[in-house]
Symmetry: C2
Amino acid sequence: MKKIVFNFKSKETKKFINQKNILGGKGANLAEMGKLGFPVPPGFTISTAACELFYKNKKKINSRLFNEIKKELKIIEKDTEKKFGCIKNPLLVSVRSGARVSMPGMMDTILNLGLNDQTVIALANKTKNIRFAKDSYRRFIQMYSDVVLGVESYNFEDLIENFKLTKGVLLDTDLDENDLEGLINDFKDLVKNKTKKDFPQNVFEQLNGAIGAVFLSWNSNRAKVYRKLNQIPSNWGTAVNIQSMVFGNMGDDCATGVVFTRDPSNGKNEIYGEYLINAQGEDVVAGTRTPQHITKKANKVSNSNGKSMQESFPKVFNELKKNLRILEKHYKDMQDVEFTVENKKLWMLQTRSGKRTAKSAVKIAVDMYKEKLISKKEAVLRVDPNSLDKLLHPTLDENTKFKVIATGLPASPGAASGKVVFTSEEAVRLNEMMQNTILVRIETSPEDIHGMHSAKGILTARGGMTSHAAVVARGMGRPCVSGSSEIEIDYKNKIFKSKNFEVKEGDVITIDGSTGRVILGEVKTVKPEISGDFSKIMKWSEEFKKLKIRANAETPSDSKTAREFGAEGIGLCRTEHMFFDEERILSVRQMILSKSKDDRHRALSKLLPHQKSDFTEIFKTMNGLPVTVRLLDPPLHEFLPKNKKEIDDVSKSLNLSVNEVEGRINELHEHNPMLGHRGCRLGISFPEIYEMQCRAIFEALVECKNKKYKSIIPEIMIPLVSTESEIKIMKELVIRVAKQVQIENKIKIKFLVGTMIELPRAAIKAKDIAKHAEFFSFGTNDLTQTTFGISRDDSGKFLNDYIENKIFDIDPFVSIDDGVGDLIEIAVSKGKKQNKKIKLGICGEHGGDPKSIDFCSKTGLNYVSCSPYRVPIARLAAAQAELKKN
Amino acid sequence: MKKIVFNFKSKETKKFINQKNILGGKGANLAEMGKLGFPVPPGFTISTAACELFYKNKKKINSRLFNEIKKELKIIEKDTEKKFGCIKNPLLVSVRSGARVSMPGMMDTILNLGLNDQTVIALANKTKNIRFAKDSYRRFIQMYSDVVLGVESYNFEDLIENFKLTKGVLLDTDLDENDLEGLINDFKDLVKNKTKKDFPQNVFEQLNGAIGAVFLSWNSNRAKVYRKLNQIPSNWGTAVNIQSMVFGNMGDDCATGVVFTRDPSNGKNEIYGEYLINAQGEDVVAGTRTPQHITKKANKVSNSNGKSMQESFPKVFNELKKNLRILEKHYKDMQDVEFTVENKKLWMLQTRSGKRTAKSAVKIAVDMYKEKLISKKEAVLRVDPNSLDKLLHPTLDENTKFKVIATGLPASPGAASGKVVFTSEEAVRLNEMMQNTILVRIETSPEDIHGMHSAKGILTARGGMTSHAAVVARGMGRPCVSGSSEIEIDYKNKIFKSKNFEVKEGDVITIDGSTGRVILGEVKTVKPEISGDFSKIMKWSEEFKKLKIRANAETPSDSKTAREFGAEGIGLCRTEHMFFDEERILSVRQMILSKSKDDRHRALSKLLPHQKSDFTEIFKTMNGLPVTVRLLDPPLHEFLPKNKKEIDDVSKSLNLSVNEVEGRINELHEHNPMLGHRGCRLGISFPEIYEMQCRAIFEALVECKNKKYKSIIPEIMIPLVSTESEIKIMKELVIRVAKQVQIENKIKIKFLVGTMIELPRAAIKAKDIAKHAEFFSFGTNDLTQTTFGISRDDSGKFLNDYIENKIFDIDPFVSIDDGVGDLIEIAVSKGKKQNKKIKLGICGEHGGDPKSIDFCSKTGLNYVSCSPYRVPIARLAAAQAELKKN
């Protein structure tokens, strides 16, 4: 049998020290600190394998495992010269979770385990501190009952409050040992009452219950949500650490605290932390007493009245400081350390890589390189690409004046302005008219996904940081303010009120998802910049990365942003977005609804100059970099008139009756538009549309050449190809138009023709398709939809069930799924077999996801393309992908 | 360079005799007849490769090819001692198409080529028959102008009619040589007038034009439609045969005819054919004169007045008869032979395998085996499985009395009765209510596909045998009467009139798609039977086939039919069809719309006894054979109430407001239902539904056991699986329910759990899925949809463009596509790697398609499942697939 219980100090454990997947982060680090010779309370780790066993064994600890645990306990007893459950010198232990990566606060912890009606007396005798002993017992009952027995904590808090009221005191510390004795009895009665059983006096029963509860907390709702947000697989499980207790609450020569080796908010190379005298760990977190700073300097900066640890415990402080330096050198990373001082003796309780803001992560990485603690490669690997997102959103220009009318939770970063809409339909409608909106809802539901996509920002009156609106908005990269309880929404009258303000549908507001502010009117925003340490990390990334990073952009302004963020080309320019402009949409509708080819040609010739000038601008902006232009893709009915006025307008312009137009609109209805008449199927049915688009591209190219701009080689991309014939026929069309334009302008034009690989058949038949394609661009959104047979727009109805049932660990629309990945690999290998020089890229939303970028790098793609604001993330991720290969 | 022109008699040609893909059917057979020593007019074949060259060369014959043709012409000149274009002894030739398989009447032919104003005189002198020469020239001008110059034939017919009216005669033969001379001049004027050019006098120009026209006719609309109907690839191309002319119209010692070696309508082993004295081939076809029988016996049977060939040309008849016997022995198949008698000399012009009815095909195959002409294997290979379709439809019971109110074209075989509906929506609605309908439309369009699927039969007022309604109905296997011009449809008032009858929406009619009759009321039908020679072929098929044949059936009556036709189990029992029954639909709706789990459970428990009794009946009927039951698959909204009354009913029964119910209905709306909340996604979200279904299956099993029926091992099939977890969770559910039922009934139950492979991801990840699946059933309908990203319901909008552009040679929803096939092969190989014993089948509509069955056999599946009426087709196809392997 595999070893599953590991003493911190055993030789065998040392072999596993680097295996956080077995010991968990906390267990591995405790063993490591032991190895470094630090004072660590004796203990052991039950490995993550036990967690799996626990779930397999109907959520029970099997007796074999429990026997092993008991054996290890004996070793602690020997080290501490105490005995578990002994009524003379009892051993007390803590039981803590410890997953592979830190999930702070998400799982359960139990302290002071081993106390019962008898050992509490022994503890009192031994420490000569009756109040401390009783208080420890009181805390243990409360914690254990909450975590293991399901008697929620507030019940106990109520009892304490009552007690204090009766006694007429304010603070817990005002309760004396007799009061605590009374409370303990009240607590036990409460437990008996709620659970129909006595509070367990058998210490092994206590231990068994606590370990089980920690395993169970791996699947608590908050842990699941945290994992989902942080893309942690649910099959990892947690380890459990059992450790003898040390006490920071035995008097004023005791303390407990948390300290970072560097400042986690700004990255400065200064110890940063807080401590409390005469307290246990949870008091620091609970906030009932105000903790003090660790260093004198911090005290000074914050004008604090209290005494720093440096002043109160100078000797211990120096030992701690020394240890911190050693730890940072050892781990080569900023550490987050928990410690306790028991009767002036320092105990190191935990160390782990410290969480930090994106900004400080960048600074720490760059500083540590300068300090020669880490190499340039390590520095680049040290910054989580996803975290950069926070640095890459527009922020409000705080120099302008604006009127904050409400605040809510800062649910998804970035600032956005737009017209207020109260329904998703309206958001979709206005988006199609190229108008910016803010979707305002009491709360959002899966039915709103469409609207959230279409809106520039989301504001909700209800829901927290993990509400539907918040989670989805973060996923989409849309700014969101959630749970703004100050606003009162009246759907019927299409207004919302806040303070004295009344905001109507169509009024413009601004939201700041980084701070939670809601503002009347439009506010100027400041574009994020890449400078200082950030730009250094970016520069270093360039040195390592091989993948090219392009951006998805279809306007000159997006193209400009992309270039500023370091994009090396445009990987996806969606031409249909250019159709929705108010000036053009009538012509688009005429084109679709006309009954004769002549009418269609007339409408197309009106669109040509618009598309041409769009392309000219984009080509100019990209100044020599490649631009992939995708020809018209969505089903035509997306462009159709939706209300009576629009229908009237088109009917008149085409000299058709309203009936005829409505008839044609009905004809265009589709049962499954995603699988309907779209993509190159339009190019086959209506070649004149693609001809117009190609002409616009080539004429723009000619204009750029004539005006002596740096020349561009456009990559013309045919969407939704599934057969060799489609790409063959479409390529012939492109070449035909190119020849015409060349002859007309007596100029030579260079271009590539390629296709999206976004259907399983295209991947499977990539060899045939590559005969005619000079490049493949993987359209992973559609490819994921068809490979799974799941419509993203409809998946909201069951996605939650799927995540709860662990069918999806990670949403396949966020990170490239394994099966979809297999198809991509097939296509790459078959495509290359046919055409060694074929250019390979990806342009789905996965192009901005670091995990997917890693996959693309491994699979041998040439570039990824993502939204302009994710380009720096992709650059860093591409560098890391390359570095991880070695 | 490859050889592309082949003289019938050259040594080199002999090597290619069996290569119809090069010589075409006609060319290969002419060469063969030459080899057998029959009198074949000298000539040569231009191979199909030339056809490809022609299309590559901008639809022109390149000079190199034409020079080769001229060279071959010289050899004919030598053989015949005539000279092409010579004004003394001119050689005349025929130019005929010859594709790899016969496409009778679909492509063009030109006779008498080589005639012009001068050679016609030479011909007259040489034959001493001025009238014959002039008539030949007249015919040639007419044919050539129609085929090559685009001056349609009716223009010339008009001129002839005018001429006869002026002269006051009735028959063409009443025109004398002077009349013909006049006509020739009129014809030439007409050509000049229409084409602005003189009729070509240069015989080589004539030849060049004629060959090109034959190549072009490969892509005529009728040829394309024929290929589509017969699944002939469009890239085969046609060969062209050039042959010196022989004349059956030089006098009464001349004749021309067509003869089959056996009777093609009933298969009897008797020469069957027709001939005309003093005529050319096209006269037999044109029907202007009534041909006579070949044999005395046939004359007698049909009470004909005319003289048989046996009587008129006894010597030639005997030679012909001998030749026919040799040919049949040589080809070991019934032959269709064209011949001409020129001045009492027999010329063999063509032989090919004769087209025959399904019935005669079966008889001929069985007879030839008895005659030891062919082996049993060959007999089985000799019957086209698809042709059996005609023998497998219910026919009207002609013994009952019925009222025919109209007739139309017999567009798709079979008889059906149902309520008249005038819209596809109504057909869909009533189908969901389990009511039979006949869809009556002026003509159908792609938007009607849904309705045509839902109706039992289709009747149209317009359109021929190849109209949309006819083609689609044949594809679906729905009876159809098209182009019934007697009926007058009034959509507005929802009635149609025919003769003196007025038929309203909802009235019941019957249509007979085999004869074209439309009948008032319901008519009893006779089920087809498998007996006599047919049952012999089926028995022999059993000896060879390895694939098991199952049927898709969900009612006891379908199951019974399936068994009678030899099904070896049910491969797909769709449980949702059982939900639409009027008695049950309210409970189904309650289940879907209920707000509480309790309400849902109540609704489900009402459904349980219904499903149970369905299964009991089916299991009884199948009597020990395996039954694959698919758990609920379609999106729930398919079951929802659609009109106000239905909504009211459900609201009341659930004690919910109409608003609430409508709200819930809206929530269930999906953008792409095909890719939505359906299949096992329902099982994950609402396990109680699948639990009820499993319970119904298992309780039915228990009941069968208790009643001592032969025991069945049901195969429970989980639909729309794409991940390992889905099948794992669903399998656990099935096992859980089985255990409960086992315990409750103290009985042991055997069953299998498996999945459909109908999503690309399932195919790609088959290895993981096979860990939990005991069988795979390929759902090729959905697999084709997702692999291509094409919704079958929406494909009507572009399918025609796709067939015209040759993107699809064969509709991938009819025969398994190559790319879809690759995915199936991947799944088979991965599935077997994980689980050697995994059972493999297919249950999409492809399961009844012989080409797809061949694929399934090659790929190593265990069974195919198809509609009950296609089971015999599948059995034969499976035997042929096996035989073709060797």
